[in-house]
Symmetry: C2
Subunit: 191 residues, 2 copies
């Protein structure tokens, strides 16, 4: 998605520790019209796949996941990062290690919100080490649902997790893949 | 918004402690098309108010806030609930007490994402005791921005926080106001 690459180049900044900060349009602040464009692009890529449900994890994936849900006209579900007071007792859970926050957290989805007849599309803003996606995959597997694929806004290709998933036969569509990243330059994979 | 009241009656459940659970369409699972309808209704209510920015707090407010942003064609910003590793150092913060989780947390918005020329619309899924809205109002005030008003999906009218804000001259538009709630029945305020 050319528009995303251009937006990353013009508004993104590289921080120490291989962090690509895109908080001005994709995370803490969201360019709403652009988020909807991303949602439409995801819907275009997975058209004909009979997706019944979009699944993401709170918080930063919610905006593009709901935009994809709007474009696909299917419900969007987000995994919560810890069991909250209002969470139904019956949940599917998975443990996820976050390199950003240097901690392991539980993600949980109520059993009511994903089932064996579902064809699930995982949506997230970033794919780096793949831990969040792997956690969501375990939840989909536990629910007996079918994973249709993953739709990611920005994949850090140099971390290899996306290509590992592809090698396992999982469809991973990333709207921009950063194959190299320094303070001075970003190299996008040709797609 | 009649459609929201009907959805609450058909899909919502009342849990102990005055909790109204609408996780099947508004929170953990989101009825994407309906979320977009809510966004459009918020945009209709605040049309002509020259809103420049929608502000919410993670996580459950993000979906309708971004839908409102899409419908208003303005950026959507969410306050983070604690300072994260990727958070810019320059942030506006406020303390918020959560009755649901029985704890006080910090909310923070990067100074880059709200400024003195902004006309800000606060959007959230619930208005109960008003603590989250008050925290967002302090951030708007600290930024020197103008609060245009609040757009809430479901207001718990019986908790009084919405009417207190209105009495202070703040515009609060709630798409459904629950004035009484028991296991057996919900009473909506006529609007």
């Amino acid at each position: 998605m050319k528009a995303l690459e251009e937006k990353i180049l013009s508004e993104g900044t590289v921080l120490p520790g291989n962090v690509l900060k895109v908080g001005s349009f994709l995370n803490q602040q969201m360019d709403s019209d652009f988020i909807m464009e991303i949602g439409r692009e995801i819907a275009r890529l997975y058209a004909g796949e009979n997706v019944t449900r979009v699944l993401t994890v709170e918080s930063s994936g919610i905006a593009i996941a709901v935009a994809a849900g709007i474009a696909l006209h299917v419900p969007c579900v987000f995994a919560k990062k810890h069991r909250s007071a209002n969470m139904p007792k019956e949940v599917y859970t998975a443990s996820v290690y976050s390199y950003t926050h240097k901690e392991t957290y539980e993600i949980a989805v109520a059993k009511d919100y994903v089932g064996e007849n579902d064809r699930v599309l995982i949506v997230d803003d970033f794919l780096a080490n793949g831990n969040a996606v792997r956690g969501l995959m375990r939840i989909i597997e536990n629910a007996g649902a079918k994973l249709v694929g993953c739709a990611i806004a920005i994949e850090k290709g140099f971390q290899g997790a996306g290509d590992k998933l592809r090698a396992e036969g999982i469809r991973v569509e990333s709207l921009a893949i950063v194959d190299a990243m320094t303070d001075e330059s970003l190299v996008f994979r040709a797609q």
